[in-house]
Symmetry: C2
Subunit: 385 residues, 2 copies
């Protein structure tokens, strides 16, 4: 059906009507008292969301731009950094490091596997001269649906004492607990089209006091992505460059919604959506791509057996039930499909997706499950949770 | 009155309802055929607007980000460049050049005066070794309302033969004729919240084949702002990083509107708005900040006599008539006010602004004009044009 699309990709995520309508208002001047007030409220609520009393800066960029800003503002060419890669986005930060001439050591895991915190511990413990300036990793690897063990890796970084920890939390911030100040995370990058529940167009970078210390001596060239400029203007409730004012109208609404729901409830909802989805997919006889103890609360990746074509699943889900699922990326293209359950998603959406998936599997001749098993598993889990 | 604001600042500019409502639609996946189609249509129409068969790339950035991308993709540290500065935005490009270690020579004019093309000619003619790699300037200087003589300066750059010409056309593209291919302009940067008639959040960079040649050897570090990545993906009707899909919904609508109006008509309308505004302001006994032969079609700056407080004019225009005018910037703060007539602005808006301005001047006790003279001058001009 036209205009019936239900987005279950890992972003853009569904946007609440109240936010869409707020964004449809006529723009206002970005150097006006009215806008300063909206910007100030959003910034306060962004700090609440990041659980920090330090800075959360808003940039007109995609998530990649936010993460690049988070990397290049605190380092200099030749600096030694550790980069964890186990998917497309980890690999992207390795590319950024290369573009800027950082001395990057890559800590790899297979796509679909989590990064091993022990590998970080070894490298960090061996670095007696404290030459490692930063540890860079993706928390929720959007390309695979793996959640890396940020808490443990961060503990090893803290034991090192010198290195900064820079986290791509694009699909984890607002979905799972990341207490920035309590853990001592130095840089957190995220993007508007994810748990923030608004369209793409705004990137966010949270910066710790320790990272600001590193900023003072960091020498990589930058201007538009120079976070010092954003910090200076944010202190006056404004921005160095024209902000996307209508995006802020939407952000104001969705941050208020998140506050009303409560951070713990937001996290619990995402966990419930993830666990329900995984239980139901298993009950339908489909293998999950990531292990239970490394599963992202934002995305569930499914690798169907040879007999079921992942591409066809997506095509039929779209054509018959107006549900958009995501394809695999790079070498996983056509091999997995990804179910997004991030942001403005409720239990009903998961039931709709699971029942639609069962109908599609039936049409594709998939066997090895009891009819109705997916919804039965989901309903059972929901009743108990 | 609440919700009655009429934006007459040089950006954000007013947005047509059709574009606002298009942007209020639920997002779609940015890796979907539907979005590819919208993106392809927008790109084609952007080329039409730039009068080019080369590339026009869309980035999630403000105008500054677009201009920085336009500079850093084609140069290397130490490269000699000429930068024209006669206002806040020209000065900004000098800052970008400094941040990236370019060897920049500044060609200055006072704020409110146009750049002198002769100064460019002299420098370019003296450069027998062809060491000047680029000439960088702002076409319409938003901070003052001055339109620099791009055509003549460009002619001198063409006579030099080697240097690229990079133009900040943020408040001129779509308001005044810039035939990119016919003139051989190498880089044109612009932003969505201006003549494009949508909110801020998208930046555009047009790139000539000659600039792409320079790209091959340019060494400044970049990743998010790497235009080569955007070009490669645009060939497949997509983007390297998540685009602001809802902004494209709006852009699709406003580019269609511009095509329906016709490029010559769009330019003629902006010229008429400018000339009408200037005639009316003069008739009200207020001095214009820029000379007639260097006036921007986007912004008219007014420097009232000592007896009339520019700040009070703006405050009363806002409070009594819900019209937002822009303040001066930097040392002109409080000394001038700027009337924006860019984008979705018609003759009626100018009459409303002029008649409101007269009412405000009366309230402030301004003398030296015949009551009604502003509207009379405007109406006379409109009748004749």
């Amino acid at each position: 059906m036209d205009n019936k699309l239900m987005l279950m990709i890992p972003g853009p995520t569904p946007v609440p009507e109240a936010a869409l309508l707020a964004m449809a208002k006529h723009p206002m001047g970005h150097r006006s008292k009215e806008f300063d007030g909206i910007f100030a409220e959003c910034t306060e609520n962004l700090k609440w969301l990041h659980q920090t009393s330090s800075d959360v800066l808003s940039l007109t960029v995609s998530g990649t731009g936010a993460m690049e800003a988070g990397i290049i503002n605190f380092l200099s060419a030749g600096d030694r950094v550790l980069i964890g890669t186990n998917g497309k986005f980890g690999e992207r930060w390795a590319e950024v490091a290369e573009a800027y001439g950082l001395n990057a050591e890559i800590i790899k895991a297979e796509w679909g596997q989590p990064l091993d915190p022990e590998h970080f511990r070894e490298k960090l413990e061996a670095d007696k001269d404290k030459q490692i300036k930063a540890v860079i990793l993706t928390h929720s690897e959007t390309s695979t649906g793996v959640l890396n063990d940020l808490e443990t890796i961060n503990r090893h970084v803290k034991a090192h004492g010198e290195a900064l920890i820079m986290v791509d939390a694009v699909t984890s911030l607002g979905a799972v607990n990341i207490p920035m100040d309590a853990w001592g995370i130095d840089v957190i990058a995220s993007g508007s089209q994810k748990a923030y529940m608004i369209p793409p167009g705004l990137g966010f970078v949270a910066v710790s006091p320790k990272a600001w210390e590193a900023y003072k001596t960091a020498k990589l060239p930058r201007y538009y992505l120079d976070l010092g400029k954003y910090r200076k203007e944010a202190a006056k409730n404004t921005t160095p460059f024209t902000p996307p004012v209508n995006m802020f109208f939407g952000l104001q609404v969705t941050l208020q919604m998140m506050k009303a729901e409560g951070l713990e409830n937001v996290f619990a909802r995402h966990k419930r959506l993830m666990t329900t989805t995984r239980a139901a997919v298993k009950a339908l006889g489909l293998p999950l791509f990531a292990a239970d103890d490394a599963a992202s609360p934002a995305i569930t990746s499914v690798m169907p057996p040879e007999s079921v074509d992942a591409q066809k699943v997506r095509t039929l889900m779209r054509k018959r039930f107006d549900i958009a699922l995501a394809d695999g990326q790079d070498h996983l293209k056509g091999k997995i499909f990804r179910i997004g359950h991030l942001g403005f998603v409720g239990d009903r959406d998961i039931l709709a997706a699971i029942s639609s998936l069962e109908a599609v599997l039936r049409e594709l001749g998939h066997e090895g499950y009891t009819p109705g098993a997916g919804v039965a598993a989901a309903a059972k889990f929901l009743a108990e949770s």
